[in-house]
Symmetry: C2
Subunit: 242 residues, 2 copies
């Protein structure tokens, strides 16, 4: 590998640290404002995501107005009450106890949208995978999420919202979809593990069960890769002697 | 912000460096093999993406078999020939000159799939945003892409493939979709700018045009944010005195 583009150990460690210590935050938001230069860095990080045909289909709606937040919060309450009916008994009990958003407590809400018509009718690379523009906007979300972790800022993705209702509240034009509604703020702490894991909603799947060789179900033959997959500990940064 | 979860400047700089220096690689792949421990780190980085309801809908098919690669390459050739018909004149000429994949030259191809049935019928958080599982798998793609950059490994997403044909070649079961087909390998260089930008296919959009306050079209009022958005230079790491 050429030395010119090599990362230092600290830089590389920072990337893995952001990946492994990133959390979907709902409950630990502090009211401290996010300075303009920090917010700008997060938005620029999102804007530098890859996009199909360099389409850059995203827009960023920065929501600070309490009136808008309260409207979105009401949409969430409605969709969440509906969702609670999907569960029974202990599962329903646990679902109701989970706090699934921090819309009002977080100082900034951010809606990342996808303009499906940007770039014209024929976007390079979107002829067979027709949702590649939505996928590009997701990559922008993850850039922002990791940059936020590096800045000490927590992010929570609120997916329990009726998209058409959200589009109405935010005044989105026809053809622009609300892809992600995010809550951003400094936090008292980043939890050690994902909350749904700690609370017993679902477990982390063992990575080795998810890796296939060449085709679906193909067993990994390389003994070094097999043992690396088995040895890795979930929730640990593998660059730190895990 | 509590000191416990704070990143050092080098760690934070590493995250932004990965974000701004990441490229969609098609032409600079070296044949050098990716060591098993490095590949394991990349897969684990992907596996630690956020997912709706902690669903972890992804699987990872590591393709090294030249026969499988050649089948996928043939699928791409077919879909790409079809796509070329969408353009006319200079645009068609430019399209045909672009190299859009490195399937055979890259030592490893990786298909990240989405198992839409994982986690049962009612996945927490997927009741209104029905494609949130696909979006989660995208976040795994971006984790891997950034970790790869930190390891000096280039990644290219090949989206010009007919998904049903790709699923057939990879033997995917019903209900599992091929989300991303990626080419991975060490590279001779990471280009300074996205290739589609340099080649004049599309320009980088100015970030300030993409930021709205509170609702679509809402003008940013905060003078500090306005000037930060204007001052930021595209393609520069804003933490490095840009």
């Amino acid at each position: 590998m050429s030395a010119g583009h090599r990362f230092s150990d600290a830089e590389r460690g920072g990337v893995y640290r952001a990946i492994f210590e990133r959390r979907d935050v709902r409950s630990q938001f502090l009211p401290d404002p996010i300075p303009a230069d920090v917010l700008e860095r997060l938005l620029r990080a999102a804007h530098h995501a890859p996009s199909v045909g360099f389409m850059q289909p995203w827009d960023f709606i920065v929501v600070e107005d309490p009136a808008v937040k309260h409207e979105v919060k009401a949409l969430h309450a409605q969709a969440n009450a509906q969702a609670a009916h999907n569960y029974r008994d202990e599962r329903a009990e646990l679902y109701r106890q989970l706090k699934l958003e921090g819309i009002v407590e977080s100082p900034i809400n951010l809606c990342i949208t996808c303009d499906r018509g940007r770039g014209g009718e024929h976007v390079l690379g979107r002829n067979t995978m027709l949702d590649a523009d939505l996928f590009s906007a997701c990559l922008a979300v993850q850039n922002l999420w990791l940059a936020a972790r590096a800045e000490g800022i927590g992010v929570g993705w609120v997916s329990i919202l009726e998209p058409r209702e959200l589009a109405r509240v935010l005044g989105l034009p026809e053809g622009v979809e609300p892809l992600a509604y995010l809550c951003l703020g400094y936090v008292s702490q980043f939890l050690e593990r994902p909350e749904l894991q700690t609370r017993g909603w679902r477990s982390r799947l063992p990575l080795q069960d998810l890796v296939h060789a060449n085709v679906w179900g193909g067993e990994v033959q390389d003994p070094a890769l097999r043992s690396a997959l088995l040895a890795g500990e979930p929730d640990r940064d593998p660059t730190r002697g895990g």
